[in-house]
């Protein structure tokens, strides 16, 4: 048996080297585990957070909320007939009517009224609409709200512009 000055044989060093090599595997596995764990956690947080935030709808490369500010239209109501003219450059896909009756509100889409022939593609530039709408007796005010159509990650989506972009009609 060959022994060195300390009296340790070759097998001792070989064993030590082998055990050192085996210890060396652990940081690699830890790193892989860490990366995998981080990726899994990130994807779980992302999926959870995505459900929390509202989906972004865009039109002409702009958030649809900002596009509502550019909508220009004129409207009038007389003896049961509602008239609308799109005088601006933003197509109006549909119209929502918010009817006020002594402090109570009821909102209806224009196509919900009987006998209304609203254009399928909406009111384009210069487009006009005229139709009879049956409002409940006691209705004192109608707010005409434009509805736009934009694109989202899930395809085409409609968006009802907020109250400040509506036109108020007194009955």
């Amino acid at each position: 048996m060959i022994k060195n000055k300390r009296g340790r044989n070759r097998n001792f060093y070989q064993q030590k080297k082998f055990s050192e090599n085996r210890k060396g595997l652990s940081p690699v596995i830890t790193t892989v585990l860490l990366i995998a764990l981080v990726i899994v956690i990130i994807s779980i947080i992302f999926l959870w957070f995505r459900g929390m935030i509202e989906e972004g709808v865009t039109k002409f490369g702009k958030n649809i909320k900002l596009v509502c500010d550019d909508v220009e239209f004129e409207t009038s109501y007389s003896s049961g007939t509602l008239n609308i003219v799109n005088t601006g450059n933003i197509p109006i896909f549909s119209i929502n009517l918010k009817m006020s009756q002594g402090g109570n509100y009821q909102t209806k889409e224009i196509t919900e009224f009987n006998g209304i022939s609203w254009p399928i593609s909406g009111l384009n530039q210069g487009g006009t609409f005229s139709g009879n709408i049956d409002v409940n007796s006691g209705t004192d005010k109608i707010i005409v709200l434009p509805v736009l159509i934009g694109t989202s990650s899930k395809g085409k989506k409609t968006y009802i512009c907020e109250g400040q972009y509506g036109k108020e009609l007194s009955i």
């Binding site: 060396g24 830890t30 004129e74 007389s78 003219v85 450059n89 530039q125 210069g126």
Partner: protein, 196 residues
């Protein structure tokens, strides 16, 4: 003795070097992960925030204006026509116009679109009447043009006419059709029978 101490030191240094090398792999991966995650996150946030940046909306050039110079509402039974002479009294050329009429007295808005009733062929583009070509501003400042519309279906009842000029404008390098709602003109009309 001194040699043994030196050897020990050497061994220690080698071990440390090996360990340090092993740690180095994880740091590099950590950096790569951090940088790539932050790049991906910033791209996502940028794309989302970009949609909230207000952009200039296509607006008709200020100074665009048209004038209804002459209206002839011919109510002869066999020839019920509306003749309009439109003059460009603005500073920019005009592409065409939207034309809406009303057949109810006292109605605020004119909502009957008669653009498709234009009697001159090739002058209709969508729901607007055009002065020249379909892609140019055909009516230069100071010029005028006359159009005739067949209005038989409305039976002598038209009372008001509204015109909104349109322009073809360059918006972000693209030619776009723009409605000039600020330059809207309206006129009350009354039917007349020639030679009466």
């Amino acid at each position: 003795m001194l040699l043994q101490v030196n050897r020990k030191k050497e061994m220690g240094n080698k071990k440390r070097k090996i360990l340090a090398d092993k740690c180095g792999i994880s740091i590099v991966i950590g950096y790569i992960l951090l940088i790539s995650v932050s790049i991906v996150m910033s791209i996502l946030v940028y794309q989302w925030l970009k949609t909230y940046v207000p952009r200039d909306t296509p607006q008709c050039s200020e100074g665009t204006s048209v004038l209804i110079k002459k209206v002839l509402y011919d109510c002869t039974e066999e020839n019920e026509e509306l003749n309009l002479t439109i003059k460009n009294n603005g500073r920019f050329s005009v592409h065409g116009f939207f034309i809406h009429v009303s057949n109810k007295t006292g109605e605020e808005l004119a909502v009957i679109d008669i653009s498709s009733n234009v009697t001159i062929e090739g002058r209709l583009s969508g729901n607007s009447v055009v002065f020249g070509g379909l892609s140019d501003n055909g009516l230069a400042p100071g010029k005028e043009e006359t159009f005739s519309f067949d209005v038989r279906e409305y039976g002598n009842k038209l009372v008001k006419i509204e015109i909104i000029p349109t322009r073809i404008q360059d918006v972000d390098g693209k030619e776009r059709f723009i409605s000039c709602s600020d330059a809207k003109v309206e006129e009350t009309i009354t039917c007349y029978i020639p030679n009466q």
